[in-house]
Structure formats: C-alpha cells, structure tokens
C-alpha cells in the first residue's frame, strides 16, 4: 500500500521548453490515496501514459516532486519504488512455466524457496491460475498471459501500487470481463493502490472509484463515475463520458431564455441569472438521457428536424438538428418516432449545465 503525492509535477520531452504547448504534462498536483482504485482517462496524446511513467520511474519529471508515503522518490529507480506495472500486451518469460514466471520477482530478490512456493500458490489461487501452474507460459491465450503479468506484480509482498497501461488492448472482447473481475477481486481483497490508464470510458468508469479525466496534458476533472456523468465540469468531460456523449449547444442567454440557432429554449432561473452575467462564449450542456421527443411545443418543446433514428435494443438514439446544431436524444424502445412529422425536443430542466469558455458555471 502507498499514498502517492505529486506536487507541482510537469514534464516536457524537449530539453528547454518555452511555452505551455511544449509540455506533455502541464503543472499539476495530484494525490493518490492508499488502497484507492484510480483511472487516468483521456484521448491519445493527452499525457496519461507520460504521467504513468513518471509514477513508475521510467520517466524523471522535468519539474516537481513525487512522494511515496511522504518520501521523495524523484530519481529513484523503478525497482526501488516497489511498484508493479501491467503493459498493453502481455509480458511473460517465454522459456519458463507459469509457476516460474510468478516466482521470478521473488527469486530475484533472494526470497527463500519455501516462501516463494507459498506466495506463488496464494496468488495463483486468487487469480484462478492454480491449474495452469505447470504449463509453459508461451502456449497460453493472451488473456491468461495478461493475468500472469498481473500475478508477477502481486506476488511481491512489498508492492505498494499497481499501474495498468491499457491492459485490455489485446484481449478478446468476450473475455475482457474475466480480467476486470480479477482486478475487482484484487482491489477488494488486497487493499493495493491501483492506477489504470485508458482511453475507453467504459473501462475507466467500471474499474475506478475516482477518475481523472485528462486533456492536452492537464487534468480537467477528478471525480467518481457518477460525478463525471451527472456533473461534468468541462465540456470535454461531458462529451467524452457517456455513449453518446453530452449534447453541447452553443447559445446566448437573453430575457430568461437560452437562444440556440434562433430557437428559444426554456431554462431554469438559476441558469438564466448566471448566464446573463457571463462574459465568455456560452454553451448549454444536457445529456441525451435527459431529453425527450414529443410532437408538440407544450412544456417547452423546441422544433427540430429528425435526421436519423437508430434502434439499439431497448432504446433508440434519435439524431436531430436545430438549425445546424446536432442533438442526440435517447428514447425508450416503445417510442415511435416519425422523422417526417413535426418533432420537438424537451430538455429536462433539472439536468442542464451552462458552460462559459468550456467550464461549468452552475454545478451543485
């Protein structure tokens, strides 16, 4: 177990960075509590792998301090930081059996063979690998190989944190849940700090207690999966989380209404007040789950043109347009939507968020 603190950390791959854009990770402070399950979520190039490499010691940060249990570890080699890492593709020693693979880290540290045996069997039990122990590692499936990689990290008793770098990349979609289950079990049974890097929002949200969403080298929001879903602090978080993502509508606020492409949209009083006072560019955010399609303009229904209705099992996704602005609406399966008739969209007043210059103004 370890508490990891990052203070004033920033990193640039260029020797003499001059401006913000030269930094792969912009100045940030992050804390990782003992035993927590965290995700670093973001698109390619956002800096999440760089951040992970700074934690593991593969990279020395250009600026700032990184502390494990309040002890500064900048400059400490990876093997001295007591961390384990699982990579995008399984890293196993081809010539060894599964048992020897798991025993390797312990034998390198001169642990007595008795203890090695007990420990390997313990971990194999947790990971359901007991029946595979005698087999040669190179002949097994990719998902089992990944679990072995994970096991090698767990087998050391001094491991303080486990880092995952997009570990499900090469795993067959139908067996991904097996590894996710192992991860959840380990989290519940072993009380280790776990940090998981991915670009897949579903993976991040199902794994982590707390998610850090990154964009362009900065953490734009940190929160629980529910927080990120209900109250995205940045338009990118709204867009990135949820499938489909939040509808972001450029608007202006006038006389107690929001105006999107000339159409009036009913908004709650709180939003109209903050909106009227705001100076920057305004956007109205609302998730497709909190919109509905009706046939009339009662209850604030806004006229739209329905472009596409996709049927996805027990719900439909309706793609509609107000002017040139696209809106997606999630409606239950029973709803019958006719693209040619007069369609209107109703926005739930309780779930609207106003953004000024991409940042949320009125989160509770």
């Amino acid at each position: 177990m370890a508490r990891i603190d990052m203070q004033g950390i920033a990193h640039s791959y260029i020797p003499k960075p001059k401006q913000e854009a030269d930094y792969a990770v912009k100045r940030l402070d992050l804390n990782w509590e003992n035993g927590g399950a965290y995700a670093l979520l973001g698109p390619s190039g956002c800096g999440k792998t760089t951040l992970l490499n700074i934690i593991s010691g593969i990279l020395d940060p250009s600026e700032g301090e990184i502390l494990f249990d309040n002890k500064k570890v900048n400059g400490l080699h990876t093997r001295e930081r007591n961390i384990a890492q699982v990579f995008q593709f399984p890293v196993i020693y081809d010539t060894m059996t599964v048992y020897d693979n798991l025993a390797f880290p312990l034998r390198n540290r001169k642990v007595p063979e008795q203890r090695v045996k007990i420990r390997v069997q313990e971990i194999a039990e947790i990971l359901d690998l007991t029946s595979d122990l005698g087999k040669r590692a190179s002949g097994l499936n990719a998902d089992i190989k990944q679990i072995i990689s994970l096991g090698r990290g767990l087998v050391r008793e001094d491991v303080s944190a486990i880092l995952f770098d997009e570990p499900l990349t090469v795993i067959d979609p139908h067996v991904k849940w097996l590894i996710r289950r192992q991860l959840k079990q380990i989290h519940e049974q072993l009380d280790l700090t776990m940090i998981y890097v991915t670009h897949d929002q579903l993976e991040a949200l199902t794994f982590a207690d707390k998610v850090n969403v990154m964009l362009d080298g900065a953490v734009i929001q940190q929160g629980t999966p529910e927080d990120l879903f209900e109250a995205p602090a940045h338009t990118y978080v709204g867009f990135f989380i949820g499938s489909p993502g939040m509808n972001i509508l450029p608007c202006t606020i006038e006389h107690g209404h929001a105006l999107v492409e000339g159409q009036k949209i009913k908004i709650p009083a709180a939003i109209s007040k903050t909106g009227a006072a705001a100076q920057g560019s305004l956007k109205l955010g609302i998730r497709p789950e909190f919109c509905d399609i009706t046939s009339s303009s009662e209850n604030g229904g806004v006229p739209v043109r329905v472009k596409k209705v996709e049927s996805l099992g027990n719900y439909h996704i309706v793609t509609a347009k107000i002017g040139e602005v696209i809106i997606k609406v999630k409606v239950p399966e029973k709803a019958q939507i006719n693209p040619d008739s007069d369609n209107h969209v109703i926005f739930s007043q309780d779930h609207m968020i106003l953004y000024e210059n991409e940042k949320a103004l009125n989160l509770q």
Binding site: P43, R181, Q185, G245
Partner: protein, 370 residues
Amino acid sequence: MTIVLDSISLTSNGEPYIYESHLTLERRSLNVLLGPTLSGKTSLMRILAGLERPTTGKILVDGVDVTGVGVRKRNIAMVYQEFINYSSHTVYNNIASPLRLQKLKKSEIEEKVQETAKMLHIEDMLDRYPSELSGGQQQRCAMARAFVKDAGLLLLDEPLVNLDYKLREELRDEMQEIFKKRDTIVVYATTDPLEALMLGGNTVVLREGRVAQHGSTLDVFYYPKNVDAGITFSDPPMNILKVSLKNENGAKTGYFPDGTTFNVTSHLSKLDPGDYQLGVRCMNIGLKPFNENDIKISGEVDLAEISGSETFIHVKHENVRVVSQSEGAHPRHIGDRIDIFFNHDFIYAFDMEGILVLAPDRNGSNSPQS
C-alpha cells in the same frame, strides 16, 4: 451488382474455417458480418475479395462465376484494421493511386481525390505523409483510398477497432452518411453488436465458422433463430437458462434445475410442456421487478460494474452466470446475496437443440420466426 456465395466452405491445413454457407448480397446493401474473433469473418471477406480460394463452392457476380478470378481483376476495395497506407506516398498520392492504375486523366484524378478527401475531412492534409498523421487520420486516408475507387464491393474488416472510443463514434457516424450515398455493396465486419445495430442494413451472424443467421439487422436482433445468434447478437451475451415447463393443476409452472419455480405467463404460456432453454438479454433483467409476473432468481454477486449511467451485475446462480443491466449506480460487493428479476415479456424460448421456438411479442405482433 449482386453477389451470391453458393455452398462456400473453407478448410485450410485440415482445419475448417468456414462451414458450407450460402449468402446473397444485394445491390446497394450494407451487410454487417457480426461474430467473435476467429468466427470466420476475415476468411469470408478474403473469399469475397478473391484473396483466398474457397475449398468448395462458387462465387457468382451478377450470375458470372468469378471463383478463380484473381483479386486484381475484381472490382473491390478493402479497408483493414491496421491503418494501411503507402508510407512513401503523400496522402494525395495514396488516394490517387487506384485512379492512376485505372489510367484516368489527371484532371479527373484531381477532382475525385479532392471530393473524397473532403468527404473524409482530410482535404487539408493532402501533402503530408501517413507517418505524420494521427491514427484516426491515417485510417481516414486508407478509407479515402478505398472509397475513391467507386468499386462494386467495399469490404471493411473491423476498421475502427484500433481507434479511440470517441473517434470510433465519430467515424461511424460519418461512414453511415457516406454509405447511404453510394451504389456499392458494403460488407462490414465487427465483433460489437451495438455497432451492427447502429449500422443497420443486413446482418450475417457468424459463430465458429457457421452462419448462425442472416437477414435484416433488426429482424435478426429481435428474432434470433437459434441460441448462437442470440448469444452473439448481444453484448453482454444473452443469458441462457435451462428450464422445464410442466402442466400442474391447470396452470403451467416452470422449474429451474435447482428447484426454483415460477408461474408461466405472458407469451410463454403458449409453449407446450417440456424442456427449453430460455434466453433473456441483460437489459431485461433488473434489480427491481418490472411487472408482477416477473421471474425471481436469487444468487450471489460475482462482479458489479458501474459505468456512470448504468450498472452491470454478474450474478452466480448455481453454475450459471447471469448478467443484469440496470440504470443508475448500484454498488455491490463480490459475494453479496442478491435477487434479480426477469421481465417475463421479453423472454425467448429455444428448444434443447438451440432452435428458436417462441419469441416475445413485439409491438403487438407475434411472430415466431421470419
């Protein structure tokens, strides 16, 4: 053009990759090949492309047998999972290459390249090299090269699988627009049932080298002809439970292997007594009853995953694992006892061989199979 695959099968080094199959692909149709890895999707595509010769059977294009014809003579274009571009050519030359092979005039080539690049939003990158582009842009370049040809058959082998989640959504939307405007037959391979639903058109469900079912996507989704099609066409896979239906005291009772019973109602009451496999999709299994006639099952939580807007709970009941999907966040620990409810109105009944016997009523219409 119309393509017919007649009694096609593929065996290589003694291993069967595709069992005998018949398929017809109509003009202007979008056909999704849906199935897990190693189900035969790529083999089928290679046969359609002419890169591989089927062990038995014929391929007919507009009635003409083209089985032995090499890929260069066939009118096809293909996009792969890995972003494949000519690394020593600029984006412009990449897109232009098939047109140059067709010996078109320079002005025509210029026009088509610009048009296709605009369609895929890469018109500003025409003088860059693929290595200078991001993953998504490289794949757009590969797609442009395929689309510019106006081929009669367009093959896409899981083209979005190596892209970021959100990029996938974006490109998928764009591709749907593009396909609508073209006169080609599109064949799109994927492992994701949601993608198949979003693309629409027709779906061919493949499992272990066999065509489990093919037809219009919604038909296959709502009326899976067999357990294979049902399982493949849902993510998480459709839950299958064995039951015995017996007539008792004038009413039908259902028995699970562990003794749990339930009253058989709704459309299931049309079934004759006997042994069946019941299929239910995760979204029709919940933590709260949907109606009074729901089937209740008790079990142990194997895994609970919260994705912000929904919770997936894997429940172990006897030796069967059932996955339920509910809206909202419902945290549970591994090992907790839990009750889950099956929505009676959405249960499929398959016989013990796996063939569909009865499907749920859909919008009032009741039809066992199409």
